[in-house]
């Protein structure tokens, strides 16, 4: 979509500056958004993209700067004024009330509060109309809490459209979507642009930015460092602008596989709720080798990860760590067996948000020397350990005593990585270790995993990103409905061939043969 330079500016930001203590999150940012244009706001985590949009929408007050919408100054710090001026925002963390229906979530705040009854019938018709026009299928009476992530996002977009938003801000809309859902979202956005809406699309995923935007603005450390028409730029240039230096893709040397450190034979686990259990799964993890586990989300990856992490026990089959059958298999036993864990959800299971970096850094070893001596906690040792992790793993943070929730995803993940690797694990369980991270952090985490492999660790890399598996893994298994494919050596299967296994085909012949 080429940008017509003559199109009028619907939104003007002038010298927006915002400081949080010593940190300048936005430094004199100025740009215009034109009618019918899609601007991509690109930048690493912590570059200030979300802060800027929160200022525009009125969640925060800027320390300096002005915003104009359709030629009128926008009063700062007032979401209602932003909504009335025609600005709609799809937040990264969805803002739905789970106890209410889709319709109630959409009409919330659109009617005068002091009114008897709600205009539900009219609202219903209008929502159905919008759903059809923009390809946002969702049932108005469904409870928000029961919706899938993709549906929740459609409701968020409907909320903005229902209020006749002319400017749509989407904050990392694709972070939680599957590729198919992302395509649907883009189709919706194109329809919106065709109807004259203007869009600001925040992302750190290059290919999406190139696919949807007409112009790219790059933010780095709170400053606007680059601007380009999408047609005139490429991945390489944008990555350079974003990170401020050349990106070096991880170099994976040849593996030197050693002994089998973890051995599973015909292991089955009980499905929990709707989750898939393991079905007679056999797997070897070898020292000095990265084993990649590919598969569509929800096919037993969580069951396998939970089992190796000590959170569940096998129902049947052989489960051996370091050549010996395990006794009482618990998270503690897994740690004692030198299994390092990088959990899938860093916020929920990887860290305790309101604990400090120090406390989080010793969560897995707080009761052991040197952190505890004769039952007493040694804060000096904890502090020293945390500072070492911060230093060695390049965790950017205010200090060891800061609460970990203040950190960006990438820095949080680096601390988790440091916590796992500093214990010198023999087996590393890495579940989606780079999901949601920016390029710099992705490369960093991947390189560290390769280093750990070269140092002799057995790494199990569970990922839904096939590219990541193909780049990093020395051997690849595909998991489907709790069953495991045979091991494929690096370079022996194309993505398409793996895709066939991921779709659940091939397992029949394989199990007969075995």
């Amino acid at each position: 979509m080429p940008t017509d330079p003559g199109a009028r500016a619907v939104l003007r930001l002038r010298n927006i500056t915002k400081r949080f203590g010593p940190l300048t999150a936005n430094d004199a940012i100025t740009f215009d958004l034109h009618e019918g244009e899609v601007i991509a706001l690109l930048g690493e985590n912590g570059a200030g993209k979300t802060t800027l949009m929160n200022i525009l929408f009125g969640h925060y007050m800027a320390d300096a700067g002005d915003i104009e919408v359709f030629g009128h100054a926008l009063p700062p710090g007032n979401p209602r004024a932003a909504l009335e001026a025609g600005v709609g925002m799809v937040h990264q963390h969805f803002t739905l009330a789970d106890n209410l229906s889709v319709l109630d979530n959409i009409i919330l705040g659109t009617e005068p509060l002091w009114r008897l009854g709600t205009g539900r019938a009219a609202a219903w018709a209008r929502i159905e109309q919008l759903s059809r026009d923009f390809g946002l299928a969702v049932h108005p009476e469904a409870k928000a809490g029961a919706l899938s992530v993709g549906e929740r996002q459609r409701v968020e977009i409907l909320k903005a459209l229902y209020r006749d938003a002319r400017i749509l801000i989407l904050d990392e809309p694709t972070a939680v979507l599957t590729p198919q859902e992302t395509d649907d979202l883009f189709a919706t956005l194109r329809k919106a642009v065709a109807r004259g809406l203007s869009i600001i699309f925040i992302s750190h995923k290059m290919h999406e930015v190139l696919a949807i935007s007409s112009r790219v603005l790059v933010l780095r450390h709170g400053k606007l460092v680059g601007e380009a028409a999408t047609a005139d730029t490429d991945r390489h240039q944008l990555a350079h602008l974003m990170v401020g230096s050349e990106i070096v893709a991880p170099e994976v040397g040849g593996a030197a596989p050693g002994a089998v450190l973890l051995r599973m034979r015909e292991v089955s686990t009980t499905p929990v709720g709707n989750a898939v259990g393991l079905r007679a799964l056999s797997l070897d993890l070898r020292a000095g080798q990265i084993t990649g586990l590919a598969g569509v989300s929800g096919n037993g990856q969580a069951a396998l990860a939970d089992l190796i992490a000590g959170e569940t026990v096998p129902d049947s089959g052989v489960f051996e760590v370091a050549g010996e059958g395990v006794g009482a298999w618990t998270p503690r036993a897994a740690l004692d067996a030198r299994i390092g864990r990088i959990p899938e959800d860093r916020h929920r299971t990887g860290t305790i948000s309101d604990f400090t970096l120090s406390e989080n850094a010793v969560l897995e070893a707080y009761e052991k020397e040197p952190f505890s001596r004769r039952g007493w906690f040694d804060w000096t040792a904890v502090d020293r350990h945390t500072r070492a992790i911060i230093e060695r793993y390049d965790v950017r943070c205010p200090g060891p005593d800061a609460r970990i929730r203040l950190l960006s995803g990438g820095n949080m993940q680096k601390l988790i990585l440091g916590r796992a690797l500093e214990a010198e694990p023999k087996i590393i369980l890495a579940v989606q270790p780079v999901r949601g991270l920016d390029i710099g952090a992705v490369t960093y985490v991947q390189n560290r995993l390769i280093e750990a492999r070269d140092a002799g660790a057995a790494v199990l890399l569970i990922s839904e990103d096939l590219d990541e598996i193909l780049t990093l893994a020395d051997v690849i298994h595909v998991i489907s409905e709790g069953r495991l494919s045979p091991a494929f050596a690096r370079g022996t299967k194309t993505p398409a061939e793996l895709g066939v296994w991921m779709a659940g085909q091939g397992f029949g012949e394989y199990s007969h043969a075995a």
Partner: protein, 314 residues
């Protein structure tokens, strides 16, 4: 069977409805607060304030309904203090609530002593009289129980209907239900989380005040210390029992009151001669705990209950 005799007597059911009335007001008040995301542990103290304010107004010569208004206003005043501390300042709702209860109770007793320094026997007032509704009150048992009560009891039932209507049928109620579940949803739709929550706490506290006033103006006709006697805490349990829904909360209040009325009568039967009366006093509470366990299994707690909202924080 003596229990059966009690259960088919009109006076038992009339007593149950009477005992339930203050609980209905206060439970609805607490329910409004909690639906907006604020646990109001000031309820016990606010009921004391309401009981005193209503009674004092009438004792000083005011009309009965003015007394009810005074009780409501006094409740709202302490509710406002609670709201300021717990909503914009975002302090711990437990600490604020218990503080309000202590402050409200103590300042009421103080005010009582200042107003009536020489009095040993609390003076009685001309309280609300029973107002039988023609025709309806002639229905056996049900008529006695429901339609031969004081106007404040009728008001309790009307209030339950109004609260249910506002919560589920108006934009305001929608906003209240949303703000207790996810305040970000309200903020993102351009409404003020602070205003909604403060408003809910103030209005809810007003109802608690009326609940307290029922005791002095429609039941005991006088004010004495310790008269609220834990009713506020019962209401907190009743909100859970009612799964944060006005209709179910009303039923819960009636059920608890029925147990209470039953135990009073059981004490006077032949059973009462053999069993210590304390056992009977415990009965409604034990049954409440049991009912709470059974009923609240699948209740949907407002997700943002007790979580202070700070703008701009995720």
């Amino acid at each position: 069977m003596e229990i059966l005799d009690i259960l088919i007597s009109a006076s038992f059911w009339a007593a149950a409805v009477r005992i339930a009335s203050p609980l209905i007001f206060a439970t609805l008040g607490e329910l409004i607060c909690e639906r907006a995301g604020v646990l109001n542990l000031g309820i016990e103290g606010i009921m004391v304030v309401g009981a005193f304010a209503g009674w004092m107004a009438v004792y000083s010569g005011a009309d009965l309904w003015v007394g009810v208004g005074m009780a409501m206003a006094a409740g709202m005043l302490f509710g406002l203090l609670h709201a300021i501390l717990s909503v914009p300042f975002g302090l711990s709702q437990h600490v604020v609530g218990l503080g309000i209860t202590l402050l409200a109770t103590a300042s009421t007793y103080f005010a009582y002593r200042v107003a009536l320094p020489q009095v040993t026997n609390p003076p009685r007032i001309e309280a609300f009289k029973e107002l039988p509704i023609p025709v309806l009150s002639d229905i056996p048992i049900v008529g006695q129980a429901l339609f031969a009560q004081t106007p404040l009891t009728y008001l309790a039932f009307v209030t339950a209907a109004v609260v249910a209507f506002v919560l589920y049928r108006t934009p305001l109620g929608l906003a209240v239900r949303a703000v207790g579940e996810n305040p970000h949803s309200v903020e993102a739709q351009g409404l003020s989380v602070t205003a909604l929550r403060m408003g809910a706490v103030v209005v809810g506290s007003g109802l608690m005040g009326v609940g307290g006033a029922f005791l002095t103006m429609s039941a005991f006709n006088s004010f004495f210390f310790e008269m609220v006697n834990g009713r506020g805490w019962i209401c907190i349990a009743l909100v859970v029992f009612g799964a944060w829904k006005p209709g179910k909360a009303l039923l819960g209040a009636l059920l608890f009151a029925a147990f209470d009325a039953l135990q009073i009568r059981l004490q006077q039967t032949s059973l009462g001669a053999d069993i210590p009366y304390q056992i009977f006093l415990m009965m409604p509470y034990l049954l409440s705990i049991l009912a709470l366990v059974v009923m609240s299994r699948r209740a949907e707690v407002p997700a943002a209950l007790m979580v202070p909202f700070n703008r701009g924080e995720r």
